[in-house]
């Protein structure tokens, strides 16, 4: 594996069967978590996960690993708080070190309007179970000594919301732990196994097409990240999704400890330190929809410039690597989960730039839906039909980043 894995992950590869009770398309975090919770919580193990590349090769292995529940609307706060709790116990449960690390997240603001927004975030978080409070500049400096509170003279830090339970975890370890846990209980995970079509009987989806032949399924779950529109179109379904590239980068080693996760709503960037000591930075999506993994200099320049405004120490560091993922953006920055109106076809999508933190709860809830054929209360607000019902969930706390 790599230098970060202490013991070989026990993945047992099998030949695909001609039929499964549940077929999951996409071996990212959400697909594998759905399989994991089907197996561990419901004893449903006749499950095949089909991944066209390698597990975690999509956004689940490309993200900046921020885990937080400090969202802006009650439905989201409850949902992500559940994921935060599942994440905190995932290490014990899977007996795998996923490098889960509670760091605390500071969301800085530089405007009067932003101060009101961060106070509102703290209030809605507290009311619905997440631990967030508003903090003044003196306390910000204590939590994060490297910050220039004057914001380079241009973006003075007026305050922040502080989300103590904000955390990070090693992304590919999360993917491997879930895959291992599912496969250990009999789930089949297939790599280099693209799904090229959907089998249909009338309007109902009854299985998948693969280069090795058809596989029938009691239910097909789409967990294909940015490629969901293409898969859904094979079921005759149109989705409110646009796929946009999102970039990130890391610097070389920073000798001091940088404990918190720092973000700024107005400057639109966020930053944390990896276990290797690199500074990891991200910002907003590229504006044009695209499936290209091309990374650009413009992003480095603009993101680094904004980050240096608050953190002058970054000037002395060098950028080591940058990369891109393709995000399934929903119009209201909330996920889209569950039934689709097409029998036999479920989706878990709209994970955009924010879905890593939701991997455990997303899997748990999708598994419950599959096992009981009833949409769990926690995810009912996130169903696809909310757009037709005029019940969109615009979430400013989602903000379109991490």
């Amino acid at each position: 594996m790599n230098e970060f894995i202490e013991a070989k992950v026990a993945l047992q590869w099998q030949q695909p069967k001609a039929a499964y009770d549940v077929v999951i398309v996409g071996g990212g975090g959400h697909g594998l978590a759905t399989a994991y919770y089907l197996a561990t919580r419901h004893g449903i193990t006749n499950v095949g996960v089909f991944e066209r590349s390698y597990i975690g090769g999509g956004n689940s292995g490309r993200n900046t690993t921020v885990i937080r529940a400090n969202y802006g609307i009650p439905e989201a706060v409850r949902f992500y708080q559940r994921s935060l709790e599942l994440f905190a116990s995932l290490e014990d449960e899977t007996d795998r070190w996923i490098m889960h690390n509670q760091k605390g997240l500071l969301w800085m603001t530089h405007t009067e309007h932003g101060m009101r927004a961060e106070k509102a975030r703290a209030a809605v978080n507290t009311a619905f179970g997440a631990k967030t409070r508003y903090v003044e500049p003196e306390e910000i400096k204590e939590i994060c000594p490297q910050i220039d509170l004057s914001g380079g003279g241009k973006f003075p830090v007026l305050g922040a919301s502080y989300h103590e339970e904000g955390a990070t975890a090693r992304h590919d370890r999360v993917v491997w732990a879930l895959a291992e846990g599912a496969m250990h209980r009999g789930v089949h995970v297939h790599q280099r196994a693209p799904v090229t079509g959907l089998l249909r009987d009338g309007d109902r989806v009854t299985g998948i097409e693969t280069p090795d032949g058809p596989v029938s399924a009691g239910v097909v779950v789409s967990a294909v990240g940015g490629h969901v529109t293409t898969l859904a179109s094979m079921a005759g379904l149109r989705l409110p999704i646009r796929s946009h590239p999102l970039q990130a980068f890391v610097t070389n080693h920073y000798a001091q400890a940088f404990d918190a996760i720092a973000a700024s709503t107005d400057l639109l960037f966020y930053m944390s330190q990896t276990a290797r000591g690199e500074m990891l930075l991200g910002a907003e999506i590229d504006r044009q929809p695209s499936y290209s993994y091309r990374s650009g200099h413009h992003f480095l320049e603009s993101c680094a410039h904004r980050a240096m405004t608050l953190f002058p120490f970054l000037r002395d560091l060098r950028i080591l690597r940058q990369w891109t993922g393709i995000c399934d953006m929903s119009p209201d920055y909330s996920p889209i989960m569950g039934k689709t109106g097409v029998d036999g076809f479920l989706v878990t999508t709209g994970w955009g730039t924010w879905g890593f933190k939701a991997i455990p709860v997303g899997g748990e809830q999708m598994a419950q839906l599959i096992a009981t054929d009833k949409t769990p209360e926690l995810i009912a607000p996130f169903s696809l039909d909310r757009f037709a019902r005029d019940r969109t969930l615009a979430d400013r706390g989602s903000a379109g980043t991490h």
């Binding site: 490629h227 529109t229 149109r238 989705l239 999704i241 796929s243 504006r287 929809p289 650009g296 757009f387």
Partner: protein, 77 residues
């Protein structure tokens, strides 16, 4: 290298000078006023392949142009 777009007035210019202009198309087989409104407001083809789109040359001539782009590679055609 960063994406470049050819403006008929200004020539080949970097992506950062432009604003993106989406062209939503409601398919003919979406029928009924409500269904068409819903589709127009939210649903997107989100094509993996060649699409026809508009760009606004904000930091140039400030005119709209049409372009064809392969969304898999970002190649401008």
């Amino acid at each position: 290298m960063s994406l470049r777009i050819t403006c008929p007035h200004c020539g080949v210019r970097p992506l950062e000078e432009y604003l993106y202009g989406e062209v939503p198309v409601v398919p003919d087989d979406v029928v009924g006023d409500d269904a068409r409104d819903l589709d127009r407001a939210f649903m997107r083809a989100n094509t993996e392949g060649v699409i026809r789109e508009r760009w606004f040359h904000a930091m140039g001539c400030r005119r709209w142009l049409w372009a064809d782009r392969d969304t898999r590679t970002d190649e401008m055609l």
